[in-house]
Symmetry: none
Subunit: 210 residues, 4 copies
């Protein structure tokens, strides 16, 4: 909960003393927070998520374990904040004239983001989320939803414009667009290659057309 909040709002830290809501007691150490996120990021570079322990993060960050447990409910929450908040994973999309173009661009962007090291980490986060229902929700909220929402909006728009069948099931269409990407990510990590990126988005969007 604290972590979820942290992902979308401002975290109270001790160097933001202009913060109007002054709670009593010792303020949260911003230095510790950064050290923890940094340590997490660095360990994610060369270690599968499953083999990263809170203990190891705490040691590397020079921080007590409790400090981590107080602010993040799971390993997954910590990793999501450390990883997904970094630049390059923001889902800023150019405005495109047509709905089908918008869908294509979204898919291309996603495939590029899920390539290589980053893709491995996302796959590991999805894996971690299998055993932690709250983490699954958090994953959706902090990564999936914005992308899904974007697809939904343009699918709806395309439907209105007559680009897609009037009886198109939008939710299923979303899964048809995203499914193959994540399927490849999770069962064959090398498969999100340039060739796939060059052909898949266009073809996937076309099959939806009227």
């Amino acid at each position: 909960m604290a972590a979820e909040a942290a992902l979308i709002s401002v975290v109270p830290t001790n160097n933001q003393n202009h913060n109007p809501e002054k709670r009593p007691g010792r303020p949260r150490s911003d230095k510790s927070r950064e050290a923890i996120l940094d340590a997490t990021r660095k360990m994610l570079m060369h270690t599968p998520l499953r083999d990263i322990s809170i203990e190891a993060v705490a040691k590397r960050a020079g921080v007590g374990k409790t400090t981590i447990y107080r602010w993040w409910p799971h390993k997954a929450a910590l990793v999501m904040e450390a990883f997904l908040a970094q630049p390059g994973l923001q889902n800023i999309l150019p405005t495109t004239p047509t709905a089908d173009d918008a869908l294509k661009v979204q898919l291309e962007k996603l495939i590029r983001q899920l390539r290589g090291q980053n893709g491995r980490i996302v796959a590991n986060i999805i894996a971690e989320a299998q055993a932690e229902p709250e983490a699954l929700a958090l994953l959706n909220k902090s990564f999936m939803n914005e992308r899904v929402e974007n697809l939904r909006r343009h699918l709806s728009q395309g439907k209105d414009e007559g680009l897609f069948h009037a009886y198109l099931d939008i939710e299923m269409a979303i899964d048809q667009l995203l499914g193959p990407v994540f399927y490849r990510l999770l069962t064959n990590n090398d498969a999100l290659d340039e060739r796939f990126n060059a052909h898949y988005p266009e073809q996937a969007v076309n099959t939806l057309k009227a």
Copy 2:
């Protein structure tokens, strides 16, 4: 390796005395092997994969830990052999007259297999495999490949018969058929419901048609 072999070929045991190649030393105990697989299966019923320890399996099976480590390289390998070799997970498909029907039936069968408890276990195996490259390969070999191969065969057949476009990319079509199913399995476990099963297979196959 021993485990992989076990999944596809005959395991050398002391009750299969027709086995011509007798190695020196005490032969592997078939009784222990069965006890281990049984214990694993039973624990999978009510415990998430991550919370099943080799130690607990050994204790429940009345077996030394070493016996497990000797024959299975990972928890994932053990679980796959225990779980996927179950009767209900065999991929026996009825012969169908047409290629599109065959694809539809395969998808329906898969969705039914991945529903409920079993689906959760498969999702956990896929998750486990993310951190264990060998396990990923084993997953493909022992579960994915036969299903993929079946799809590939019928896609090829349908292409020859003119049912699908002559320039259909078969590998991509496979991912388009399977992707949404596993995507739902891993990001929204309740989504493989009856409604999905009633509409998805048909629609997915239809979008491939010429």
Copy 3:
């Protein structure tokens, strides 16, 4: 190191609040420490040292294994602190008028201490120390040295008083006094009997006289 220190100096515990240097974090639990030493002592009553496992001590003391490993480097260190710190093993000697009497009394006390159950345990500690150089040093520091030092002092005093030869080699004399006692302890445990105690100390001291 922590253990060695514990044997000769004050252990920091939470009931010794006069301790000026308070470090942050939860202080060492004195309750656990006592439980561990108690469990060790009780097990030593009926089990040879070699067959006492850290695991069993932890279980009996209701304590995590780590807690033991955190504070004692070896089984030998633990056992020495548990056993040698017992009341009956303190080397409190009466003041005696003459040097030869002092030596005699020290030897008699030692023989009585090494008799029966206690002797077996000391023999086992010496045995354990053969494979663990640090333990050998600790044994000397926590048991041998005070006794040796006492002998050395009185031998020196007796030499000054003309009771012993002026050219008496004190270090060798110490070994001549102690050697037979430990030799019997280690090669024939029943030999430290009343008869030995009645005759040996007097005779051994007499042979040193001028």
Copy 4:
């Protein structure tokens, strides 16, 4: 039991076919026996006895574990046969004219034998014997007794000749001669140095004199 016999009598092997007592069945392999003893000797060079496992000896000797367990009841028995039977540890003493000289020579020989690497091993055997009563008996039989017996004989002889007091307690005298040597061996391995060897035997024997 087999091992004890082996130390003092002829071991039945397949190359001693003149042996009158021919039992049925395959005879003991002399090659394996030698390989085991060799391996043990080599490992004793650089490893403390406690850290030598039967398993490792068997592997190094290219022999089944059962073969070792069949012929030696303990690790201690194996080690004693391997180590004490080697040349240089035989207690062959020159004939000396006088009893006190004989005692001196025996002590010097012993000190030289217990120096360095060999001394460490004997100390380890004594240590091992503390937890294994049978091993203690075997140690006495195969190493101590011959030396003790030799001392006893010459002490008795010296007593008869008037060299020692008529009321000398021979058993105690033996312990007084040997004790300091083993005491140094077990509590301060560096102490059996040249200086000790040069002075101790003479002085120790002299203190017994009338």
